[in-house]
């Protein structure tokens, strides 16, 4: 069942109408946890036109707090889409040529089934009764969506951060459905440090009395303070010391002297408070718990006896891995691990470390060399996919080097 109408979603204490597409799958979907979830709903946006051969589709995977509004004004924040610089007519992901699909992840709060959705068993929001989901589960839902659109093989899957994890998962779980993959600023597993930062965020949410053990929707409360602190902590990890210094230094906020108090004396404090404050207006606290958990559980090597290279054995997928020099959350070394594993099985891989002082968030910016790399890689792949022997719609027909 597909529906092109807008839908109403619950964000914190208000319901918001968002435009877009959605599809409901009545068949329950098996999750990595062993639980079956269903029916599931996936909300998504598309840009560009699917060609007759249905072989020009690109799936974009969004990051932790991203959503399906890649390249258009966001219905809640009224800000440009989170990857409007990368995706659009004439952009590296060219919507004049490609049919671009981006769905909100399950577990999220932008229309796809998540903890704010109504549990058909109780007729109340799932809350903490929502099963713990994984990156693999997110991709499983995306695969259902792609198949429902009649697409047998994707030309490309691209995404940064948690989106990059999904790209890797796509390539490992469904290699026959992916011609090219662009994992950006990501890692083959969440490290102890990554998990530690997420745990700080989750504890901040759970320490908020308004969280009500996850039942805040029923109690008509909003754990604003907790979610806000979680966002503030996370936001620091997305930047870098040089970027923070460049933006704020030790400059004071609307004052000439220190106040000898705990007001936001410094610009950086004011900025972070604003980040936290605005975030709670568009994000759900329980979704934050579930999605960060999914990232923590991510470890591609685990189901391959700890050997990451085995995950990519005989992969027909062409990879382009991109990292940023000042990213300390998903550092170049983590991205290189992916590259080395791909090298070890003689997979087809390109890799660039883009020089940038913007930290992890660089993947959302137009850093010199970054968009050129994506553009060049996609064009190179298109030459093989559409002109070469790979131009097919069936699985495994891509040119194998």
């Amino acid at each position: 069942m597909t529906d092109d109408n807008s839908l109403e979603i619950q964000i914190q204490d208000k319901s918001v109408t968002i435009p877009g597409k959605r599809i409901v799958f009545d068949d329950p979907m098996p999750l990595d946890s062993g639980i079956e979830l269903g029916p599931i709903e996936v909300s998504y946006q598309t840009y560009g036109t699917l060609n007759a051969a249905k072989n020009n589709a690109i799936v974009i995977c969004h990051a932790l707090t991203g959503d399906q509004f890649v390249s258009e004004t966001h219905p809640i924040t009224q800000k440009p889409g989170w990857w409007a610089m990368m995706v659009g007519p004439g952009k590296p992901v060219d919507t004049d040529k490609y049919f671009v699909i981006c769905s909100s992840v399950i577990g999220g709060c932008m229309g796809s089934t998540g903890p704010v959705s109504v549990d058909p068993k109780t007729n109340k929001p799932y809350g903490l009764n929502f099963p713990v989901i994984t990156i693999g589960d997110m991709v499983r839902a995306q695969k259902r969506l792609v198949e429902s659109l009649g697409i047998k093989k994707l030309f490309c899957v691209i995404g940064g951060s948690m989106g990059g994890m999904q790209v890797l998962q796509w390539a490992v779980s469904y290699p026959e459905m992916v011609f090219a993959a662009i994992p950006i600023a990501t890692a083959p597993r969440h490290t102890a440090q990554n998990i530690a930062f997420h745990e700080v965020g989750r504890q901040a949410i759970m320490a908020d009395p308004n969280w009500c053990h996850g039942a805040y929707l029923e109690e008509d409360k909003v754990p604003r303070a907790g979610l806000s602190v979680a966002r503030m902590t996370a936001h620091v990890t997305y930047l870098s010391e040089p970027a923070l210094h460049r933006k704020f230094g030790r400059r004071l906020q609307d004052r000439t002297n220190l106040t000898y108090g705990f007001d936001a004396d410094f610009q950086v404090e004011s900025y972070l408070r604003h980040q936290g404050f605005t975030f709670v207006e568009r994000f759900d606290a329980n979704s934050y718990l579930y999605i960060t958990r999914a990232m923590d559980y991510f470890d591609l090597a685990e189901e391959h006896n700890g050997m990451l290279a085995n995950a990519f054995k005989d992969s027909p997928v062409r990879f382009c891995v991109i990292s940023f020099s000042s990213d300390w959350l998903f550092p170049t070394s983590a991205n290189r691990e992916i590259v080395h594993a791909l090298n070890a099985v003689a997979a087809d891989v390109s890799f660039v470390e883009v020089q940038s002082d913007a930290g992890h968030d660089a993947f959302l910016l137009k850093e010199p060399g970054f968009h050129e790399t994506v553009d060049g890689f996609i064009k190179g792949c298109a030459e093989r996919w559409f002109n070469g022997q790979g131009a097919g719609t069936g699985a495994g027909e891509g040119l194998r080097l």
Partner: protein, 202 residues
């Protein structure tokens, strides 16, 4: 398929001539990807590259080549044995930290290896040192001593000796004179400005 072929440097052209069609190639220090691009389009070679500079990798990826940013000293260890037919190291061995180990790696990853390097035994180099008493700065060695990335120079005779030590078979040698022309030189160690070696495992 439209493709604009780029004029190849003489040494790269000679390397390209050595390589059999339809083979698998790893080009270490592939620069802007000129050789890989040529081989891919003219010899239907399956090519991969490693390049140190972001700019070089960007150019390669823009050409549709599969190239990773990395270097010969640290990244070769991740490639499996017999991954390619030819491992190519052109004008790069003198800039590696451990040339002997890199050479071992080339012949582990590649069935054969092709190595080209500037000859430090060329008469101009010798003249610069012996007559002027200065470290040589020539067209093929265009750096002052304090800024050169080239830390392990060798002469053609040094390279012959290393191959003997390492039990490496030399299948073919080519020498370029100071004009960059390939010549049959009588005393290559004195008159050859560049050398190209095709190497086989013992």
């Amino acid at each position: 398929m439209k493709h604009k072929d780029v004029a190849l440097r003489t040494d790269l052209k000679l390397i390209a001539e050595i390589i059999e069609p339809d083979s698998r190639v790893l080009d270490i220090g592939c620069g802007d990807g000129a050789l890989l691009d040529h081989l891919t389009h003219n010899k239907s070679v399956s090519g991969r590259g490693i390049e140190l500079s972001q700019k070089g990798v960007n150019l390669c990826v823009g050409r549709g080549l599969s190239v990773i940013q990395g270097n010969a000293d640290t990244d070769l260890q991740y490639y499996p044995n017999d991954a390619v037919d030819y491992a190519i190291l052109s004008q790069t061995i003198q800039a590696t930290h451990n040339p002997k180990h890199v050479l071992e790696e080339l012949l582990r990853i590649g069935r054969r290896a092709i190595v080209s390097f500037p000859n430090f035994g060329h008469w101009r180099v010798r003249a610069s040192l012996s007559i002027a008493g200065r470290m040589p700065v020539t067209k093929s060695l265009a750096f002052q001593w304090y800024e050169t990335p080239n830390i392990h120079f060798c002469t053609i005779n040094d390279f012959f000796a290393l191959c003997k030590d390492m039990n490496i078979k030399i299948a073919q040698t080519l020498f370029l004179d100071q004009k960059g022309q390939q010549k049959k030189l009588i005393m290559p160690n004195l008159t050859g400005q560049q050398a190209i070696f095709l190497l086989d495992r013992a």
